[in-house]
């Protein structure tokens, strides 16, 4: 009971200070901050319609590099945490029993459409909501759909590694290209194009495509790792 009391005490203190601090911040008012600069400048300098994308990929592109790394590390760490030596003659199966034929056919039809949607989301990251990360997540969800409806849908980890590494290297080396050209890291070195055109925003599009592929392969890898370890019977150890 003493623990309950402490928890409630902590909750009320934290709650009081949060309410006190945040209700002093006016809601719905325009404030004078760097955001205004981004809104004004991103359509003019970068020709990027989506200011959020402009911030995420260009003004604060370094954060995105870090974010992609975090995801990469999560995938690596998950693999390391759940690593298991493969026994001899062990069959690889993700799902335990097959799903109904209707779902399987439906998945077959939907699969390319969802991948196309993912591709659309990350190719149009600078024009509409979304971007590399979201597109990648959608593609990963598509492969999740196949994984859970087919038992024998194989994900080739070799390919995933290749895609992931190459996409990551493309992202990082785009940064270095700026450095080699005598500018700064990750600086845009391509022409900006026209506002609301697909080919606008310079390197933003390329970065988002790289991020999309990387995120898609990483998340697919994460899901496949988790699903592969999904055998409560065979996992007594220690």
């Amino acid at each position: 009971m003493i623990k309950q009391f402490f928890v409630i005490l902590i909750l009320s203190i934290v709650g009081y200070f949060l309410v006190d601090a945040f209700f002093k911040v006016p809601f719905g008012e325009k404030r004078n901050n760097v955001g205004n600069y981004y809104i004004e400048k991103s359509p003019v300098d970068l020709k990027v319609s989506n200011a959020v994308t402009a911030i995420v990929v260009n003004y604060r592109g370094f954060d995105t590099l870090g974010e992609v790394t975090v995801l990469f590390l999560a995938a690596t760490g998950l693999g390391s945490i759940m690593y298991r030596r493969k026994q001899k003659g062990e069959k690889e199966a993700r799902a335990k029993n097959p799903s109904s034929r209707i779902i399987q056919i439906g998945s077959q039809i939907l699969f390319p459409m969802i991948i196309l949607l993912g591709g659309y989301v990350f190719i149009h990251g600078h024009l509409s909501p979304g971007g590399g990360f979201q597109g990648g997540a959608i593609i990963a969800t598509a492969s999740l759909l196949m994984l859970i409806s087919y038992r024998k849908f194989k994900i080739n980890h070799n390919t995933i590694t290749w895609i992931e590494s190459i996409a990551g290297v493309v992202f990082a080396s785009l940064g270095f290209v700026g450095l080699v050209l005598g500018r700064t890291f990750l600086e845009n070195f391509l022409p900006s194009g026209e506002l609301n055109d697909l080919l606008s925003g310079g390197i933003i599009g390329i970065i988002y495509i790289a991020v999309g592929f990387k995120v898609a392969s990483e998340l697919t890898g994460v899901i496949d790792t988790v699903l592969l370890n999904n055998r409560p019977e065979a996992q007594k150890e220690n």
């Binding site: 601090a21 901050n33 260009n58 592109g61 990551g168 890291f185």
Partner: protein, 496 residues
């Protein structure tokens, strides 16, 4: 390509993305690449430090071509540069140590280990170098996620438990820091640290207090401050040995860096400093007393590490030029000495499952080299005269005496006595007892020996000639305390 601070982050990232590919070509390549990267980083550290010391400037590297208030920037000043150089060099030494550390680990696992290992170092370096508060958070998370995974690396230990505990506390820490960043953004409307520091005086004092407390608790968790350090002993115990050295040498240092960057540069409120002294003293006293009672070697080292961090915080809290000098010196000493203690201590209890102190009884005869280095490290960390630890403690005592903080001096002396007791107890066990345990010993490989030897040589060298390093530390101290020049040099970059 010009050498610039960006290499510290971009190069390891690129290498980390490439390691899985190269691992397919040749299994040794995955191990070698991190070493090459860290070696290169050590080299550019020398070049860049030379550059800033000789030209007496700060390198501010802007990223993506946007000037500081709008873009992200990296600041390579004497202070941050000193820490970053220390991290990469120590990282290289630890890499040497890990090269043949556990040959029986599977190849795929080894590859992942090296990716996470390198990113742990990169995250810590990024925390130190960045000039943007949200970017600091991102690097903190990079550090944290690799730390969680590495803590749970061994399957036969309770690593998962320690890692879960660390994850729980670590996500509280990151939540608090994120909240603080959000409040800060509403108040000053920017994320750049220099600009925040510039606009800080105009902020409502109440808000300032709330933000400061949030930052304080958030970074305090990473820096092992008193009531929030429950994670660290378990993590040090359960993580692989070299990772313990990285935690002591880098991750905690990065947490302390965040704390003092917020306190000294962002807020610059003198009122908080006595609090730092008090918290530091409590941390120190409690941790050392607990360390005295530990029966396990690595746990003892972990509590000793917490105590030393308390000492660092006390030194920062006194706030004078001399004491900050002593604090940075302490950070440096603690990194190398505790690093070496972890590296050599790991071999003392290599095959033991429980890693108790009984396992080291009489081990001096069987592992003479490692035991000798461990004893040397113990002497150094308690502050025996010919070693590095002596000078930092001396400077700290002198700085405390200058401002007449007799209580601090007394506690530091008492704590030092406690430290002497428990470290000498281990030395006594190593050399003056008969070996009883039957656990098979592991002879360190050549790389491990040379890594430990390098650290030992540094310890002795700094102990004999403290001037080797004190010039750099002096510059770092000046740089840390000179807020105006930091703001000016960051905000004036790129202005034509």
């Amino acid at each position: 390509m010009v050498i610039s601070p960006v290499h510290y982050i971009a190069l390891p990232l690129m290498a980390a993305f490439l390691i899985p590919l190269f691992g397919k070509l040749n299994k040794d390549l995955a191990r070698i690449i991190p070493g090459l990267v860290l070696l290169y980083l050590s080299y550019i550290s020398v070049v860049l430090m030379n550059q800033i010391i000789s030209s007496n400037t700060i390198i501010v590297e802007i990223i993506a071509g946007w000037r500081p208030p709008w873009g992200i920037n990296l600041v390579f000043s004497p202070f941050t540069g000193f820490l970053a150089s220390m991290f990469s060099m120590l990282g290289f030494v630890i890499w040497m140590y890990t090269y043949n550390f556990k040959p029986e680990v599977d190849n795929a696992q080894k590859q992942k280990f090296y990716v996470l290992f390198m990113m742990l170092i990169t995250g810590a370096t990024g925390i130190v170098l960045t000039g943007d508060i949200f970017n600091l958070f991102v690097f903190l998370e990079i550090t944290a996620i690799s730390a969680y995974s590495l803590t749970a690396f061994y399957r036969e230990r309770d690593g998962a438990e320690a890692a879960f505990k660390y994850l729980l506390i670590g996500s509280f820490s990151s939540t608090l820091i994120l909240l603080a960043i959000l409040l800060l953004y509403t108040q000053v409307g920017t994320l750049n640290m220099a600009e925040i520091a510039l606009k800080m005086p105009a902020v409502d004092p109440y808000m300032k207090g709330v933000i400061l407390i949030l930052f304080f608790v958030g970074f305090g968790i990473e820096a092992e401050m008193f009531p929030l350090n429950g994670w660290s002993p378990d993590v040090y115990t359960q993580a692989p040995g070299p990772i313990g050295a990285i935690f002591a040498g880098m991750v905690v240092k990065a947490g302390i860096y965040g704390l003092i960057r917020v306190v000294f540069t962002l807020f610059d409120v003198k009122e908080i400093l006595p609090l730092l002294v008090i918290i530091g003293m409590i941390t120190m006293a409690v941790a050392e007393v607990i360390a005295l009672r530990q029966g396990k070697l690595k746990r003892m080292l972990a509590y000793s590490s917490i105590g030393q961090m308390g000492l660092v915080v006390v030194a920062f809290g006194i706030g004078t030029h001399e004491s900050v000098f002593a604090a940075i010196f302490l950070m440096f000493n603690h990194a190398i000495i505790k690093g070496m203690l972890f590296l050599s201590g790991t071999y003392l209890v290599y095959n033991s499952t429980e890693k108790t102190l009984d396992d080291v009884d009489g081990i001096g005869k069987y592992l003479p080299f490692t035991s000798f280095l461990f004893a040397l490290g113990s002497l150094a960390i308690v502050g025996m005269p010919p070693f590095a630890g002596f000078w930092s403690k001396l400077y700290l005592l002198m700085a405390a005496a200058d401002v007449r903080l007799m209580a601090v001096i007394a506690i530091i002396l008492v704590v030092s006595v406690i430290e002497i007791v428990y470290y000498f107890r281990v030395i006594h066990r190593i050399y003056f007892r008969e070996r009883t345990s039957t656990i098979e010993l592991k002879i360190p490989s050549f790389n491990a020996k040379s890594a430990m030897l390098i650290l030992a040589i540094i310890i002795v060298a700094v102990g004999v000639y403290p001037d080797l390093i004190s010039g750099l530390i002096e510059r770092a101290t000046t740089d840390l305390l000179d807020k105006q020049s930091y703001i000016q040099s960051v905000l004036s970059v790129g202005l034509k």
